[in-house]
Amino acid sequence: MIFGLADAVCRNEAPPSLYEITQQCRRWAAGNLQASEILPFRYEVLTRVRNAAWALSPIFTLIVVPLSLLSVTVAYGGLFFAASMAGAVYARLVPLGCRLLRR
């Protein structure tokens, strides 16, 4: 089976509310968990990381957007920086894993 990625772009409506996007992510993540049993272990790790990233996407928006708009001062700057760096590393795990698992 050969998989391909087209150059064509489809613009699709985003879910109309954060509740709907949460439900969408929940549905997709549940399906992935069901299907993960048939995946090799190395793929299972990647899918779990990706599921967590999906779950965090509405939460991330709820936290970051108000903070950005209000220019809130972070009380524990060092801790916030460390958490941000951890988040950045976390966000890179999926593409890095994909690169490692290239055919």
Partner: protein, 158 residues
């Protein structure tokens, strides 16, 4: 959706769960008594696969809200993922969350690089007809509280 399709895609079918009017497409309603393991969109796609004669090399599946941009054919593959980009609807927050969920498309770019793609987006995906007939859509899928929706099916020779 139909208005955004290039002229090369001239065999367009809308698969619906109730009667609707779609200009430029043949509309088909999935019978209530059609039964298979798949539900919702999977059920509609399975009904279409079994019912509609397809003599084209590929079947391209699009969601009803997918607007196709810059379609210039498909690469030589069995299953081809079209790139997804969000459109803003009523909520800026959900739009931003959707962008965050897509992660700048990094994951989708890896679709063809893994022997098993981590994620396939059904809103724009093309399947080689012989592969579709061999694998079918008749798989158990999750029941969810989403609104009843319909998939749209267009046949392509590209």
């Amino acid at each position: 959706m139909v208005d955004s399709l290039p002229e090369s895609l001239d065999d367009v079918h809308a698969i619906a769960e109730s009667s609707i009017d779609v200009t430029g497409a043949s509309v088909h309603v999935v019978p209530d008594d059609f039964d298979c393991r798949a539900v919702r969109k999977g059920r509609a796609q399975e009904w279409a696969r079994r019912t509609l004669d397809c003599h084209k090399e590929f079947v391209l599946y699009l969601d009803e809200d997918s607007i196709v941009e810059s379609f210039k054919g498909l690469p030589d593959a069995d299953i081809v993922q079209l790139r997804e980009k969000p459109r803003r609807t009523g909520s800026n927050l959900s739009f931003l969350a959707d962008i965050d969920r897509m992660g700048g498309q990094l994951e989708q770019r890896a679709f063809a690089r893994l022997s098993i793609p981590l994620f396939a987006w059904g809103g724009g995906i093309a399947v080689r007809s012989e592969i579709e007939d061999a694998t079918t859509w008749d798989r158990k899928s999750l029941w969810s509280r989403i609104p009843r929706s319909f998939g749209q099916r267009s046949k392509s020779t590209t």
